[in-house]
Symmetry: C2
Subunit: 385 residues, 2 copies
């Protein structure tokens, strides 16, 4: 590895995605070493809420044992800003990998980028909160417009790059494809799809495409999905539609709509109004069966038309309309025919005409989410190299 | 544009795709200029079989009028090698855009790359002919392995980069997605899909998914497809399966199978053996109805199982088996439910499990093919910048 250029990796967040990312990082490091690549990947920071290991000699932590090390660490945890300032003294380029879903961390991105540190992240908060934060992030980055694949003027101060493929559809190539379409001059007219693995699983069970009448009651399917680990610990965090609203906010901004926040457009919540005051997720799940009749009615109405109910998000770019809610589809429509917990994203463009460019597959899960992050890391490495 | 770094573009081939590419290039040039980007795109060569315009002062041709200029040009057309040698004297990086499907041009790629010129192309010949040519191309390029998205040692002599997204699925993000999957350490287990817009259109008409019995006879649908402009001028060039075999050769090599040539695995030709000696495409089309009974039998057999016949290519990576032929699918299968002349590519990987990553949409057409070429050009510009 003599002569190989070091690239310093700082990881924050070591939950499911963080752990999977560290596994992929170690694989990548080994592969580059085997190939005698002129790049030397060095993990120099691992941090979670109450623990941190910082490799102050810039030599690279042992990725395979770093989590055990972190568990037993008694190192004091300095404020994040202090750690960032230390990172700026690294003898080479630094990439921050934010595997959290923290608002606080997202708010520091502009300053991190200004300091020349690049960021790759699946954290939706940074790109789907206020429009001000979004503008601030992209005006601080070396890829200053959201059309991040088009070459653009680099300010002389060398700010960092930022990529966030995994914020929509996990590792599915959604944002990179959108960037290529825009950069080559295509016009996006509409985006429509199923953007939540949980909602996909839930509706494929509630009203299966091949046997629409065989699904259980809505509350029974919610409970089943929770027991199988397909939902957030509190199912209301899926049913309120906010996760999908955040993804649509990200996509809508990328195609040029200045969406103020994920609350700035109609989002259908599947939490009955009467249950909005429930104090716990368990309490909510217990009372949900009382409202099954409403969802059953929607199912019956769709079935009467020979259609299926699905929870979809859509962006009508031409009319500048974004919405999240229940829609009906013919059984042969790709959105209705979706399997398991897959996501599907239909990109309607001028060049592609009436048949959209479709990207489909698992849109959640630690390994595929981490894959999007690792692919973004490789993008940054190529740009920095 | 003062201070902007020039990038010199040399275009060979100005048919449908070439013309669409020139349109996109002009759009891109204008957009970069408007954004004050530090890149100055200059078209310096336009060449077709019997005409050529070379801008010897490196100032950039007027893209909008260049085809009229080419038509009326009386400039002598030097051998391609001579023109390449001249391009190497450009005061900056040169990208050759090969919009032909020429074998001869493909054979020059190794030497073009060696001379420091990058290549972007939808020309399948270079990547699907002999394995020797393929090896020679990638050992000459700055991205020396087919896993072209992984950072790799750059030889000191600065060879060119090569990208060829549009050789499979036109502008659909097939090769870039495959490259990301491989570069991040996923394992591809199987690739299956409909890789020909013509075959897609033909079988969707011959045996429609929503009304399998309503299609016309095979020969009638072939004639209809030809009259609508969905086939090659000689329909046998589609029906022999070679186009699909070339695309599978490209994909199989990318996932590590050392396929010798597109003839090295089973390819089902839809040309009846008795008609292989037809002297013209018209003669062939006239006699094709005599063999409709065979295709009708296949259709009936599939229908008896409640399935649909489709013309698919598949690569079983684990068993190292590649084949092109007719397969049966349930109507709800994404391959059967395909619309119009769309392509569909199913990537089965270790991380994605039993539900593949699916990419679907128009896989032919001048604008979408040119889009893949333009996106590749942007990739090269980012790497060179």
């Amino acid at each position: 590895m003599s002569g190989a250029k070091p690239i310093f990796i700082a990881v924050v967040g070591v939950g499911g995605v963080g752990k999977a990312f560290l596994g992929q990082l170690e694989q990548l490091r080994k592969r580059l070493q085997q190939q005698n690549a002129p790049i030397d990947i060095r993990l120099i920071l691992v941090r979670r809420s109450n623990k941190q290991i910082l490799q102050k000699e810039w030599e690279g932590l042992d990725i395979q044992n770093v989590l055990t090390q972190l568990d037993s660490s008694t190192e004091p945890v300095p404020p994040f800003e202090e750690t960032v300032d230390h990172l700026t003294t690294a003898p080479g380029n630094v990439v921050l990998v934010d595997n959290t879903s923290s608002d606080t961390l997202a708010a520091t991105y502009p300053s991190v980028l200004h300091k020349g540190i690049s960021i790759v992240t699946p954290n939706k908060k940074a790109f789907s909160s206020t429009h001000d934060l979004w503008t601030s992030i992209f005006s601080s980055a070396a890829n200053p417009t959201p059309l991040h694949s088009s070459p653009s003027p680099k300010p002389t101060a060398h700010p960092g790059y930022i990529f966030h493929e995994s914020t929509v559809g996990a590792g599915l190539p959604v944002l990179s494809t959108l960037a290529d379409l825009l950069a080559t001059g295509d016009q996006i007219t509409k985006i429509e799809g199923v953007f939540s693995g949980t909602m996909s699983f839930l509706f494929n069970a509630f009203m299966p495409s091949l046997s629409p009448t065989e699904g259980g009651t809505f509350s029974a399917e919610v409970t089943k999905a929770k027991n199988l680990g397909y939902t957030e610990p509190d199912t209301r965090d899926d049913l309120n539609g906010l996760d999908v609203a955040r993804k649509l906010t990200i996509l809508a901004r990328l195609v040029g709509l200045p969406i103020a926040s994920p609350n700035a457009f109609p989002v259908r919540s599947l939490i009955p109004q009467e249950l909005e005051s429930c104090t716990s997720g368990d309490d909510f799940l217990q009372k949900l069966p009382d409202y099954d009749a409403r969802m059953h009615e929607l199912k019956t109405a769709a079935a009467a038309e020979g259609k299926l109910v699905r929870f979809v998000g859509s962006i009508d770019v031409v009319a500048a309309e974004v919405k999240v809610g229940l829609e009906r589809f013919e059984p042969s429509h790709p959105i209705a025919a979706l399997k398991g917990s897959d996501n599907i994203i239909n990109l309607y463009t001028k060049r592609y005409g009436s048949n959209p460019l479709i990207i489909q597959g698992a849109g959640a899960g630690a390994e595929v989410t981490a894959m999007g992050v690792t692919a973004d890391l490789l993008r940054v490495i190529r740009l920095l190299h």
